[in-house]
Symmetry: D2
Subunit: 417 residues, 4 copies
Amino acid sequence: MANSMEIFEQWESEIRAYCRAAPSVFKSASNAKQVDENGKEYVDFFAGAGVLNFGHNNPKMKEAMIEFLKEDGVAHSLDMYTSAKRSFIEKFVETILKPRNMKYKMQFTGPTGTNAVEAALKLARKVTGRDDVVAFTHGFHGMTLGSLACTANHYFRNAAGVSLDNVIRWPFGTGKNYMESLEDLKAMFNDPSSGVNAPAAFLVETIQAEGGVRVGSLEWLEGIQQLARDLGALFIIDDIQVGCGRTGSYFSFDGTDLDPDIIVLAKGIGGYGTPLAMTLNKPEYDEKWSPGEHTGTFRGQGLSFVAGTKALDYFDNDELMNKTKKHGEYMSFFLKDLAEGNDDVEVRGRGMIVGFDVTDGDKAKAIARECFENGMLIGVCGSRGEVLKFIPPLTIPEEDLKKGLEIFSDAYKKVIG
Amino acid sequence: MANSMEIFEQWESEIRAYCRAAPSVFKSASNAKQVDENGKEYVDFFAGAGVLNFGHNNPKMKEAMIEFLKEDGVAHSLDMYTSAKRSFIEKFVETILKPRNMKYKMQFTGPTGTNAVEAALKLARKVTGRDDVVAFTHGFHGMTLGSLACTANHYFRNAAGVSLDNVIRWPFGTGKNYMESLEDLKAMFNDPSSGVNAPAAFLVETIQAEGGVRVGSLEWLEGIQQLARDLGALFIIDDIQVGCGRTGSYFSFDGTDLDPDIIVLAKGIGGYGTPLAMTLNKPEYDEKWSPGEHTGTFRGQGLSFVAGTKALDYFDNDELMNKTKKHGEYMSFFLKDLAEGNDDVEVRGRGMIVGFDVTDGDKAKAIARECFENGMLIGVCGSRGEVLKFIPPLTIPEEDLKKGLEIFSDAYKKVIG
Amino acid sequence: MANSMEIFEQWESEIRAYCRAAPSVFKSASNAKQVDENGKEYVDFFAGAGVLNFGHNNPKMKEAMIEFLKEDGVAHSLDMYTSAKRSFIEKFVETILKPRNMKYKMQFTGPTGTNAVEAALKLARKVTGRDDVVAFTHGFHGMTLGSLACTANHYFRNAAGVSLDNVIRWPFGTGKNYMESLEDLKAMFNDPSSGVNAPAAFLVETIQAEGGVRVGSLEWLEGIQQLARDLGALFIIDDIQVGCGRTGSYFSFDGTDLDPDIIVLAKGIGGYGTPLAMTLNKPEYDEKWSPGEHTGTFRGQGLSFVAGTKALDYFDNDELMNKTKKHGEYMSFFLKDLAEGNDDVEVRGRGMIVGFDVTDGDKAKAIARECFENGMLIGVCGSRGEVLKFIPPLTIPEEDLKKGLEIFSDAYKKVIG
Amino acid sequence: MANSMEIFEQWESEIRAYCRAAPSVFKSASNAKQVDENGKEYVDFFAGAGVLNFGHNNPKMKEAMIEFLKEDGVAHSLDMYTSAKRSFIEKFVETILKPRNMKYKMQFTGPTGTNAVEAALKLARKVTGRDDVVAFTHGFHGMTLGSLACTANHYFRNAAGVSLDNVIRWPFGTGKNYMESLEDLKAMFNDPSSGVNAPAAFLVETIQAEGGVRVGSLEWLEGIQQLARDLGALFIIDDIQVGCGRTGSYFSFDGTDLDPDIIVLAKGIGGYGTPLAMTLNKPEYDEKWSPGEHTGTFRGQGLSFVAGTKALDYFDNDELMNKTKKHGEYMSFFLKDLAEGNDDVEVRGRGMIVGFDVTDGDKAKAIARECFENGMLIGVCGSRGEVLKFIPPLTIPEEDLKKGLEIFSDAYKKVIG
């Protein structure tokens, strides 16, 4: 029977979530469209939670992956050397690192963001010999115990069942008074009777995506970086959701003075939705690793390397990034216009990540559901799910972009009135 | 330049490990063979650390994956419903669960073993409201902070940089005196002044693979299960490395009275080396989850579902499992014969996981290196890397199996004399 | 040999500290004077670290203690009932609790401040079922692991050797911007994605004594109390050093709207320097205790009850408290006058606790040493020992007060110039 | 009103415990007798929980204390030098340390056992740079968070409200199979994949008093000591309850090859029930302390030094210790005789600490209550309060000893039949 969901309801865990918000069985997908088993089309503003920057089933990647499969490329290699992995590294070095004069060492971890965050935390603790890490309100860094301790959302934290230790929490640099708050933090770290130990690292997102599309102040981010330097702590940017081109440049902090000691990447780097995760470690810190101290079975994924290499072609020139900026501005403009006159709504973002904050989680959920009914996929984020998060593929055709926004506009008007 | 490793040495993290033991660049692979860029062939007794139970680039899976790619199947879906996912669930239910009268709920986590272990620990703590978990000497359960706390190896543990809490450690059920040791543990848990809190769970491998191919006593395992029942704790089997057919049956504990509350699977279930991880939760515990309490971006991998579904075909009849048993016995016989007369060598295992313990890590390493030079890949395990671990694809052709063993035999004789 | 210190140097632990700053062997003491074995007299502005509010060897207490000894009173009773304990309780109820309409239950813990703080923390965690406690920069609450986690000073914290968990640290309410900082804290606790769990308690000193005689803003303290109420957390005042009359009233917060759920007392309540510690618990929380859940061998000290009962006579009328206020004002006036024109010096305090902050720990130490040489005992406090702390007995004769201040004045001028 | 308990019930915390078992108000006490306000006499086999080794209101101590009070001796000095402290140190060195060729440094901590245990743990962690401590089932070491983590009893542990970390728990060396269990522990510590880190210390009582008068096997204790040496860990004996002469020699381990790195003393050393606690640290470890790293307000108690010095006179010759052995043997003989034929009763102990284990906590409680009614004080201990603990003053007159035992005998017969 087409589109039957019974088997899931009967045999899959009660923990399933997105399928409750979008109760359909999806059969195929292409660039910014998903199609369910009944043939209904959806414009995708969710993009696999920010993974599919280059669209569903990107044709060039698909072609390369099929070729790789046919030629019996090494699909799974842990950290053994393979031709596919070398191609990926070479491409990343030439396209991303060298043009920026970056000298990072690439560390492939288990292929999920949380594995990479855990690796970054270990390295920072190893380098400094310190326990504590500073993480920020509304931050999201993953679900395994080490990264979960850094994640701010209580719903996730409460599921740990144990105390989440060794994290110092501080307000994120957005909203108001964040520079005063940074001064407070500095004062604490500079006082030998503050009760706050010098940290191993500061772990920060430049734009908190899950946290509600909160854009960090650059002045504040630079202040955090300077504080890390002053304290001998590592400055780690988690660019998992807003890196890989999302904001209109490869890294979310390109063009600033931010110079992180470790950059954490996942989601978009595998290109096709194929799992891959990586930390970029400054060599002077990377050399503190002993071989195999942090491992993970699936850290050498051939298909991800192949698709990921193709994804990097998009950064050979400015075309996609320029389009990303242009489309991002259009989205922001459209949504701000829509929200005009409603003081309960705030639109935030940069490049092609835009948050539409309606203050109220129930309303946001109702809007998202209405969008789903009308053929558009969009997720919610923020402390209470009160922010609709617009993260379509960067490759979305203009007509799909417009169509999605129209569906959203109608849903917003219907729900909010 | 063919086979150049320079790019890795220059740009990849110092943490890389397997590539140091097998310094070659691999270009292609097929069933139990890997080929490097110089055209040199290697018989593979490593199988991607126990992932490739069905061989490299299994033809049927490959065909299905290419088809799936061509048809624009949904490659990445988080926990939304997809046709590919439903096929996998249906196949798993029909082939694995129903014939065993098992009623587990399937929970797809982030696609690595450690993510699944973290999920299992969370669920056990949630269900019981308790903090501590009992784990065993030589156990290996992953590298993220929650699972790492359960992992026994100090090399990995020391890299955490923080205290690994909430785990009670006890000797594993092998060797000698393990039943007395179990009695001690029981006595402690039954004494209100033992200093050991009632645990949330017992987390155990039936055969400790990374720990040195240590085969747990069935009597002991049943004793642990009973103790868990008596204490209201969950009994969790981590079948990541020895499940999926490795021992000659789908689960390593098939045919016994072991009835785990949670089973953790990863490695082999994605079939092709494509990442997938899953816990099987008894429904009465699974229902304690609230939606989305434990998530992970890559928990809906289309290619893994497609390949994994094909992998399950191998369990439609007994052919592969019978062959696995037969080949396993042959391996054990061959290796025991080889070790004959050397009291420093012990051969252990079941089905197609066999450990060849030479007592001395340097010797084991030397043998593995000699094998590599002569065209065979094999890894080491155990507390000091003193055990050579034989885990070829279950689908290995007999001639490759024999060839690999011969190469090993020569290497052993050369190194040990 | 009179005044020989050799035996201490040879046989006592290297951890000894005050004796290094005041290297003499003291033989006798009376009210605000100590005499060493060479007959040299010292005016005592240290008062046993704030214990001896009623002077050394207070005659009325001494008399009562001798009488008690002669009559074979029960010197040590754990928490069995004794006549001496009942007298203390009755006196405390009549003199302190009833006039203030307070309904606290008195809990006698092991007779040191840290034992009482540990009890308060346990009760707060028990009542709320929560783990974390909010404590503040520069706070001092003791040296055992639970209270040490709340203590801010790194020198003490670093000696723990283990991670000090379950404490949320925030700036104390003094200096500048503390109300903004309080707003930040509120915002965090009211946000379900702040990463900061609702706490079991807020633990605060109204005046941080060891922390450098930092006087908490009343507005801020009331804000903290309100926040505790709003969050269902307990509001705990540690009045160990500034209670028992030190500020010119029995509790440091008398006359305010502060209404703590638990008050922690020690130091001065035993009267004679005889150990005693107590928490005052609101009955609705106290009843959550089960018998004997927190114990301590020396929690029933007959001599401390006898002396402590006599100490409470001082609160039958206003005489001592009025004198305390008057002398406190005189101390402050004198010291501010002395500091006049030196921008590096700040004088802070209330009642008879006054801090003279010279910014520089070495200078403070030099002044204290000069005072010692000239017959005056004074201690230092603050993050770097930069604050001279004036806490003479409340009963100090005016001439001793003046003499001590003169010695200090000379020392200050000699060291600072 | 004589003997009124109302004031306690109304104003004292619900946590009170011993007073519920012995509901009377005690007015005076002398050697092994306590008298309540109604004039009823009780023979004291409880001795203030093992504090009053030299009886209530020991006349020589009393005389010295009164003299000290009259002469205005320094009652409270923190760690400043005083004449009274020097006398105590000299006496302890001459009487206890020198005759045993011991070279320990004496560290006075806050005057309760738990404070001293916390100090010992800090020093061990500081010396070794390690986190974990090995403690044993049924061990009791105190109630503050660091020592409580080492305490085994769940009733006490559960009151902590937070996770008690950094302790490895193992079966204590008594009963059966303890040497096998020690072998298991050794094996774990010698295996780099055991999951058990090398510890900072082993913390052990030679006889577990609160734990139920469990006498540790000497062979086992020596094995633990050797294991500590082999691992570079400190061997700490907590002699708080069974030191100071209780077993018939000053230390409970006199005459054995046990040579602890740290000895923890409290309870009996203050002599009169006056609080005092001390660790004896081997100099090579003690020198790792920096001044003031572990402090405590009441660590210089003049009255305790004076009484404690007098107490040491009892160790100038063998008289008291010989009597202790003789009376201890008599107690054991009497109680074994009483238990003759009842398989549910076991008598254990050494010197004048004897446990009478009736297997059942309710029965033990009933016996103790019956004793109380008939003029004898005795406490219970053990996992479920199933052991009656005989710890009268060592100075108990023979007639009181016999009288107490007779009362007990009657109560036992009445309850058990």
